[in-house]
């Protein structure tokens, strides 16, 4: 099929099979690539990172519970020993849909089919300026930065004399009451209760405040009201100060200003308030809507012939989901899986199968022994059993047997020892624009 030139800057050889280029090694892209293994296609996977990130557990890396290898799998390993598979560590710059080309930082590549699966990024809702010092939590380096910063702040707190400085170092604000926000604040609550007081006996941990700010009137908006209420109740037990109907208007690295006018001293703000699609230039105008790509029931991008979009980036409107499906891993994996089938149907001239999301339920954990689970058909439960279900489902979903083992053994360790093994400041985090250092007089001597 590729009868163009015999050389290109990405060094993908010519092939008798059609070339499928996949942008992004997240849940959707990896699922698709794995299902295409051994099929009559040449598959090229492009990603900025050489690993897949299991995002649902990123917050545990940020709170010193797991190391990156637990939740990251090398992409080459995940799709190993497949003769027609090529991975390239390359950032995509643009698409030239009419020429069937993707432009990458390494050069230009021709495709027969293009699949956009590059997911979502943090959404500051136009307030990038106001929240430049908040921590996003979408990638492993961000989680490691947050881990370092939390620990650096406590190391500073032990030498701080000024009461306001101390309070700002020991206050943590989480913005957004979805699953990530709930999970991060629960994990911070556990650190406060079980881990940090042993490390810092000099500090009074009654002064450590964890705030969770949610703009709506309830938590876990994507789940049942019952689960939202339960999560609120559990978070209170972990000493998290939940403020509903509350927005953070700005944060300057020292204090946050709320919509109520209230000001809270805090060095650390975690931004978990929303995500938006990573839009790549060059798509038809009609295909981009509110930072997502509009697709038909086969995940084909509208106004294109051979471009598909799957996962968080794609919005497929239907009667059941008028605004598209929720941006969740199961949707991405199911779309990747079906698209692999549909590529075979395309090849054989058979009609394509329309996507139908099989909702198996949703869940969130709050911390030790506490989670909430919604099943389809209005069933929901919480507490210890929900927590086991949450752990089981996450373990099963982590790609790669090694990662499953590492996560499981870390969880067992953390549970029984009340320990968090990775509270290491490997690369200290330096806030953008520098930061205020506690101003003790340098020459006072004890």
């Amino acid at each position: 099929m590729n009868t163009h030139h015999s050389e290109n800057s990405l060094r993908i050889p010519t092939s008798a099979h059609p070339r499928i280029v996949i942008i992004g090694g997240g849940f959707a892209g990896v699922q698709l690539a794995q299902k295409l293994k051994g099929k009559p296609f040449q598959v090229v996977l492009l990603d900025r990172h050489n690993y897949h990130t299991f995002q649902p557990l990123l917050y545990q890396v940020a709170t010193a519970g797991l190391e990156p290898d637990s939740i990251a799998g090398p992409l080459r390993k995940l799709i190993e020993r497949s003769p027609n598979f090529y991975f390239r560590l390359a950032e995509v710059l643009a698409i030239r849909a009419e020429e069937h080309l993707v432009e990458t930082k390494l050069g230009v590549l021709h495709y027969d089919y293009l699949v956009i699966a590059n997911g979502s990024k943090t959404n500051y809702f136009g307030n990038e300026e106001a929240f430049g010092k908040a921590f996003p939590l979408k990638q492993i380096p961000q989680a490691l930065d947050l881990r370092s910063y939390i620990l650096q702040n406590f190391e500073k707190a032990v030498i701080t004399e000024n009461a306001d400085d101390l309070q700002s170092l020991m206050n943590f604000i989480v913005v957004g009451g979805g699953p990530t926000g709930v999970e991060v604040s629960g994990a911070l609550g556990e650190l406060k209760k079980h881990v940090l007081p042993h490390d810092y006996p000099e500090l009074d941990f009654r002064k450590m405040n964890i705030y969770l700010m949610e703009g709506a009137g309830r938590l876990l908006n994507g789940m049942s009201e019952k689960s939202g209420n339960k999560a609120l109740e559990y978070l209170k037990r972990f000493d998290v100060n939940v403020k509903l109907n509350t927005l953070v208007k700005s944060f300057d690295g020292q204090q946050a200003v709320l919509n109520t006018g209230e000001k809270i001293l805090a060095r650390t703000v975690v931004w978990a308030a929303g995500v938006k699609g990573n839009i790549i230039q060059g798509l038809p105008k009609a295909a981009v809507e509110r930072d997502r790509i509009v697709v038909d029931v086969y995940n084909k991008v509208i106004d294109t012939d051979n471009v598909f979009a799957i996962g968080d980036i794609a919005v497929m409107k239907s009667e059941d989901y008028p605004n598209g499906h929720p941006m969740l891993a199961p949707v991405a994996m199911q779309q990747g899986s079906l698209l692999a089938q549909n590529f075979l149907h395309l090849l054989r001239g058979k009609p394509l199968k329309a996507f139908r999301y099989l909702d198996k339920g949703s869940m969130a954990t709050i911390g030790r022994n506490k989670a909430v689970v919604d099943l389809p058909k209005g069933l929901h439960f919480g507490g210890l059993f929900a927590w086991f279900v949450w752990m089981f489902v996450h373990l099963v979903s982590i790609i790669g047997f090694r990662s499953k083992l590492v996560v499981l053994s870390n969880w067992i360790w953390n549970y029984f020892t009340y320990d968090r093994g990775t509270r290491l400041i490997i690369r200290p985090y330096i806030p953008k624009g520098g930061e205020k250092v506690p101003t003790n007089e340098p020459e006072k001597v004890l």
Copy 2:
């Protein structure tokens, strides 16, 4: 004892007990601090990092075999629940021996006894300029940088057309045939043989060359000649090209020039040729000799009353060790342990005990199933049994039960799967002064 001021910038409270300030949380410092737990001293440990590094396994972090949490233990955790113990994350700038003060980046601290245990750093023998682009291997961030760089180079190799570029990306030079150099090159040999060919089926791994350069006429100079020869034989089996009597004169990031005039294209040079003490300003002139601190048989720094030095930084000359003891973990730990006893003797007015190094032997591993062990009294053995001994001794020596478990389970996994789980480029490494990018024409399209 501390009847000075009641406030200081490091916020160490006054105490009825003498204050021992320890600089450095390596083997020597941690051992001393642990042995002083519960004793009538106030102990202040200062370190730039908040973790102890188990340096003997750093090379496994650099070669994608272990994550940092396997070999790093949070210092606060290691000496937890000790009422008189204080840790401060602080870099030491200078000592004012006459005033009994240490100057740190956080302020000044008074001591009754000072223990310098800040170890050694990479020694370029005055050639910092010539080797600025080589990788040292003394700290975890350096090991992570090397891991990233190795993987980045292979990601580049798959898209490189130019034969010289390709060769420089696939050549690895290790400088220094001591235990670290032998272990790094053995681990690279294993990557070549068992791991990388699966990840990069597009590359011809016969082109991957691993060079080990040693200035002397044999490997493992600190060990028996028999063990040196065996290591050489084992390295050959792992496809390592050992060059004895060979020095690297310079390295510019693209190629290394040898003393023979030979030039070798290589992007990656690992510098394992030597270490020197981290000398802090302010010591008596006579106490500093060739970047180490001269101590008496009690590890007391000469020309001082209350300053001690233990571990790599200290040089204690004796009949058996005219140039001081070898810079090894067992020496550091034995000195730390004895000094803790001697502090008690000091307190009780009893005579101090002189240090005597109990040499339990030394060892080095080359890779899978291969190690060499020297026991005292001229006994040595190699091969599979030596490899088990090596693993056992290292596991037992790692501080912290969690780290032992993590290392053991990683080793079991790596052994049976021929896998290296952590081949992740979390933070891409950018060589100082930028780097040459392969110059494929950007617009050629396949």
